[in-house]
Symmetry: C2
Amino acid sequence: MTTLLHGTLELLVLKLLEDEPMNGYAIGVRIQGLTDDALRVEEGSLYPALYRMERRGWLRANWQATENNRRAKYYRLTPTGKKQLHQEQERWGTFSTAVAKILRSS
Amino acid sequence: MTTLLHGTLELLVLKLLEDEPMNGYAIGVRIQGLTDDALRVEEGSLYPALYRMERRGWLRANWQATENNRRAKYYRLTPTGKKQLHQEQERWGTFSTAVAKILRSS
DNA sequence: TCGCTTTACTTAGAGTGTCTAAGGAGAGCT
DNA sequence: AGCTCTCCTTAGACACTCTAAGTAAAGCGA
């Protein structure tokens, strides 16, 4: 069962971090919540994605305490990350409309 | 550069074959045409995808001559393939609206 | 006739990203 | 003390697309 998420996860993470810094766990919960459980991102996908994005300079992280008094790594967008977000948003736009064109064809 | 196509190619192929049997080459050309060149599927992706789908019983193939007097493998949907198409169409629908929800969030 | 482009298929291997699975650790509740 | 929940980490399996290279026949122009 191939996941459609492939290549889209980074876009989603960038988008969520545009509004406010968040930790990985919260990002996962948020994705599930915003999509009414339609999308569930596994930890083994999410955390490596965050590391990748940090390595590429899209995110910056710092350890902080959560509201629940737990330590967590908070990620925030860098300027490069913001550019990347816009780029990927556009990429998604053209891709999804392309798919729509084919699905509407016939 | 991760491709967004990941996991969607089979849906597109199923959809195109719903209307009429086609050969691999034509499918590739058609995808490009319908999407105004937004989507280009490489042969190294398309043909293996066709083999996969045939192996799974979604497609059936037979060699035929094209209009240009060339031999080509024509694929057609099986009943199982038709079911699969509807399933994947639905999967794509919920996925893309889920992504849209997140992109609209904030 | 020769060479080039186009049509059409095949397949090995690299690359990349998601998932499964397992583990650790601290906070708070009963 | 035990349990659940939060939160992170990482190894390895798996799946798919892509790059790249090859084959081969048809048709066209010089």
